[in-house]
């Protein structure tokens, strides 16, 4: 009776496993979306054009309902003297660096979420609260988030911020590529506000082509590198600069997608449920042989 039970259990479990294996492809797609459309949009940031007016900071805060002083207060350039990071109060910030070519005209660099093509935050999120959409944006879903902040750890650019001061309903705060504005057919707020169009919004493919054209046309103006074209597998936001990207504090990252290694290990372990099934099969075999031995021992005694 007992052995019968065990056998039936094994049978059922095998059936379940087979059923689960059959389901695997569909369950894999049910995870966080990461659709890389050839028409995905992006922004090309030309740091040689940026004048550091910080209108983008103001526009971003206004568009996202964050607290901000009036626009003319941004004429004060003193905040540029301090190095800043995007946080829960400012989804984008402009930093200032010394310009080796023109000491009087410092280089200013806008920082925000890069909207990676293979986002580490999406990979790290255990509840699928962050997703990469076909239009290029990497967005966060307040209803799914459990506040584990794995995304903050995973991000190679250290962009996501968390509302620590909020006891109830704290949010992960990061640039959402003006998801709502773009759905309404508008430009991202920062792009719209830039007086010199240092930010060019368009299809990522087109932007990379335009960036290459600019480098080709003015080789003295640019270093021959489009940051984000290939870094961590490509990002929707790409940068042009007149000086080495290291000196502008762009992290030196490899060309492989950031979640590549962890995902390959994790997904490898659970691929098509083969390792669990094998493990169960092995355990089953051990039990089967040991049960036999037990019977023999009983008979001998």
């Amino acid at each position: 009776m007992k052995s019968q039970n065990r056998r039936s259990f094994l049978k059922t479990s095998t059936a379940i496993t087979v059923a689960a294996t059959g389901l695997t492809p569909s369950t894999a797609h049910a995870g966080p979306t990461n659709i890389l459309s050839p028409d995905r949009m992006g922004v090309l940031v030309d740091t040689t054009v940026c004048i550091g007016c910080r209108n983008c900071e103001w526009a971003c805060k206004t568009a996202h309902g964050l607290e901000t002083p009036p626009l003319d207060a941004y004429e004060d350039r003193t905040p540029l003297a301090k190095m800043r990071r995007p946080d829960e109060t400012a989804l984008t910030v402009v930093n200032q660096y010394e310009n080796p070519k023109e000491p009087d005209l410092p280089i200013t660099v806008k920082v925000q979420c890069m909207h990676c093509d293979h986002p580490a935050c999406v990979s790290a999120c255990i509840v699928g609260a962050i997703a990469k959409h076909a239009n290029g944006e990497v967005v966060w879903d307040t209803d799914k988030c459990i506040g584990c902040r794995y995304c903050m750890v995973a991000c190679p650019f250290q962009v996501p911020a968390f509302e620590y001061h909020k006891a109830l309903g704290p949010r992960i705060m990061k640039c959402d590529f003006c998801s709502e504005r773009r759905a309404d057919g508008k430009l991202p707020a920062c792009v719209e506000s830039c007086p010199v169009e240092a930010l060019t919004y368009g299809r990522r493919e087109d932007l990379v082509r335009i960036a290459k054209e600019r480098i080709k046309r003015s080789p003295d103006r640019y270093v021959e590198h489009i940051y984000g074209e290939a870094e961590v597998g490509g990002t929707s936001w790409c940068y042009l600069a007149g000086t080495d990207f290291d000196s502008l504090q762009f992290p030196k990252l490899g060309l492989n997608p950031a979640p590549g290694v962890s995902e390959s290990i994790q997904h490898g372990i659970f691929a098509y449920f083969v390792p669990p099934v094998s493990l169960y099969a092995l355990l089953g075999a051990v039990m089967w042989t040991s049960r036999h031995r037990h019977d023999e021992e009983e008979e001998q005694s």
């Binding site: 004048i51 004429e75 009087d104 169009e197």
Partner: protein, 404 residues
């Protein structure tokens, strides 16, 4: 009546024929001739060999003084108002630089276009290759204004909404008053000028140029004298220069009297001197080139030109021989080119050979073949068999016969 009709018909045909015949000729001048823009017959993408703007010649476009005095750029926004741009004042400044083309770019040969003919009004557009209208205008201004006024703010050009100026009391005119440029444009437009922002150019007292030439390595140019005492307009000398030539803050140190700069390389002597030569054609080189003595600056005139400056030539100034204005090209090295008619009063006995009766009527060139008088002829140079007078010099060797 019939005859009249016939004549009329013929005339009209004639007119048509003439008109048709004229079309290609007109098309030839109105449509673009490559040479209107390209100086070279084989321009390439990298070196297009562009000529100065032919717009004025081709279209008969207006002179700078007929340029619109002010323009209103952009429109009033929530925080900042439109810019009243002192167009004519900028056009005057541009005379020292790239002229109208400095701003009205990429479209040199046609009449001046509106910016929005090329630059899209909306930022959401098909062609992302060139900036939209707002960006194009901002970049156009900021390219210069950031360099010489890094502390400038939006309100430098824009009227702030809600300010006194925005309510119509006074409207600042961007760049209305510029050192040396007339401000008539601003008042002509009827726009009151409030606290004009000066693009002050602090001219240097004197500029010391390092020249690429071996002779006269340094040239001291007394800039203040030229602009002050001689009242030369900026554009009299400054042509085809960038704004930074004058507006670069690094060069704007009025107290410093010495600014060392390299003159443009690859210029011929004539090109390098053309500006100064207009007034200084007759002046000595040493007026500008200090220490022009060839010995002190290490220019070996003998080795470089084949004409050594020895003894009597040593103390001469360059201009005494090189008389062409601004040029130091090779001059005729024969003595006669400078020393005209000297033979008449030359005491030949000084050379050691007294010209006796037989020799005194001989042409100089009869003995001094090379006309440089450098090598002393000896008897054997002329008298080949040394048996004079059996064979007179010159006749055997085909020389002109000696006059008697």
């Amino acid at each position: 009546m019939r005859t009249l009709l016939l004549i009329g018909l013929l005339c009209s045909i004639g007119g048509t024929v003439r008109a048709q015949a004229r079309v290609p000729a007109r098309a030839g001048t109105a449509a673009m001739d490559c040479r209107a823009c390209h100086t070279s017959a084989t321009p390439t993408k990298n070196s297009p060999a562009l000529a100065a703007c032919p717009r004025l010649k081709i279209t008969g476009y207006h002179a700078v003084d007929e340029a619109p005095p002010t323009l209103t750029l952009g429109r009033d926004g929530a925080t900042y108002g439109a810019v009243i741009f002192a167009h004519r004042a900028h056009a005057h400044m541009a005379e020292t630089g790239k002229g109208c083309n400095g701003c009205h770019h990429y479209d040199q040969a046609r009449p001046i276009q509106k910016c929005k003919n090329c630059h899209a009004v909306s930022r959401q557009r098909e062609d992302l290759g060139k900036p939209d209208l707002k960006a194009a205008m901002h970049r156009q201004c900021l390219d210069c204004h950031r360099e010489w006024n890094p502390a400038g703010s939006c309100a430098t050009c824009h009227v702030k909404a809600g300010s006194a100026a925005a309510k119509g009391a006074v409207a600042p005119v961007a760049g209305a008053s510029v050192a040396g440029a007339p401000v008539a444009g601003a008042s002509a437009a009827g726009a009151p000028v409030a606290a004009p922002r000066k693009a002050t150019v602090v001219a240097p007292q004197r500029v010391v140029y390092e020249t690429g030439a071996k002779e006269g390595k340094t040239v001291t140019f007394f800039h203040a004298d030229h602009t002050g005492r001689f009242a030369l307009a900026c554009a009299a000398c400054h042509q085809n220069e960038s704004c930074r030539g004058c507006h670069d803050r690094k060069l704007l140190s009025g107290d410093r009297t010495v600014l060392a700069r390299q003159t443009a390389k690859g210029l011929t002597d004539e090109q390098a001197h053309v500006r100064c030569a207009a007034c200084h054609a007759k002046d000595e080189c040493s007026t500008c080139h200090k220490g022009m003595s060839t010995k002190t600056i290490g220019f070996d005139h003998g080795r470089r030109t084949g004409f050594a400056l020895n003894r009597f030539h040593a103390p001469l100034t360059c201009k005494q021989c090189h008389t062409a204005p601004g040029a130091f090209g090779r001059i005729n090295a024969s003595c006669e080119s400078c020393h005209k008619g000297w033979q008449a009063k030359f005491a030949h006995a000084r050379t050691g050979l007294t010209l006796d009766e037989q020799h005194k009527d001989v042409e100089c060139a009869g003995c001094h073949e090379d006309k440089t008088f450098r090598d002393r002829p000896v008897c054997g140079s002329c008298h080949t068999d040394k048996t004079w007078p059996a064979q007179k010099p010159g006749t055997a060797a085909g020389r002109p016969a000696v006059k008697r």
